[in-house]
Symmetry: C2
Subunit: 191 residues, 2 copies
């Protein structure tokens, strides 16, 4: 958001937080990072955000220590952005916003995604805890995302959206190119 003057004058933690993650698109980038999106083009395809803005947001988040830019391939230089520990600690805030939206801003639409505690398989409560295990906060690495009734939307047919239709663990890399059984590896190599 870079509130040139307004926020800077505020000495509140919230204001400083919003200076980092309160800008347009930033939280959606972080959300996608939790869902396992890692590459520039995947963020771009899924969020449909102008590339310049995406570039700026990834830069800001990396500078703030929320994402880390890693070269995962040398031959053709390929980079990926992954959440740092600091970034992963944004999960409670992210989940709280998401849960509020589910309860108050969904307009009777069917639920799009379930969040399940991987250990016991039950749905997270609105506070992000596991009612079964008595955990107050389930860490994102122990959460599985499953598609709900409203998951498959006729718009959003890009590979990333389709990859998100399959159940997967938070933070684990999203497999963008899965055709049939076990074809992922072949595909990845053949590109």
């Amino acid at each position: 958001m870079a509130l040139k003057k307004g926020y800077a004058a505020q000495h509140c933690s919230l204001a400083r937080t919003l200076e980092l993650v309160g800008e347009r698109w930033t939280m959606l980038v972080v959300r996608d990072a939790f869902y396992g999106v890692r590459r520039f083009s995947d963020f771009q395809a899924h969020l449909d955000v102008p590339r310049a803005v995406l570039s700026a947001r990834l830069g800001t988040l990396t500078e703030a220590g929320i994402l880390e830019k890693r070269r995962y391939e040398q031959a053709p230089p390929r980079d990926e952005y992954v959440l740092t520990e600091r970034g992963r600690q944004l999960w409670p805030a992210l989940y709280a916003l998401l849960a509020w939206g589910e309860a108050h801003a969904s307009g009777s639409r069917p639920v799009r995604r379930y969040f399940l505690h991987q250990a016991c398989g039950c749905r997270l409560d609105p506070a992000g805890g596991c009612p079964e295990c008595g955990l107050g906060t389930v860490p994102p690495g122990d959460i599985e995302v499953h598609p709900g009734p409203g998951a498959d939307h006729p718009d959003r047919q890009d590979p990333v959206s389709r990859a998100m239709l399959r159940p997967h663990r938070l933070l684990e890399p999203l497999d963008t190119v899965p055709t049939g059984s076990g074809a992922a590896e072949q595909q990845r190599n053949s590109r």
Copy 2:
């Protein structure tokens, strides 16, 4: 944020939430509402936000059912904005962002405010629960705000900031004009 096109295309609860509360200044307005700020001029004095923007934000929040506009005085018509139940349910998200900022974006500054569970007097844990009572989430009405070491800042000497230096309960109206013991009522009448 009114993401004209980008967010609208997203069918995610987070995107819809951010359309409401993700705009610049909006979360700070909500935070102040939790702290007990209710009047237009008090929001303006404390946040130092352009009046036009504040007007727009209060309008959006009222329309979204997060705040309610109430006439609290007829004679000279005076209005106040108070959180609705829907607005109060934003507390977990707000606290999570605040706690993250305290942990990761405070740059070794002394803590500005403590949040105490009113029933037992102990500080809230990072998840917004009470470690003593075993409560997963303490509702905002049961939370007391106390000034921390970094509370009194030489800037921000407006009446609202000074009022926030005194311990008070969340959601209860902030007493902006308290001079000495029990003088509040006299002051309010003499204006």
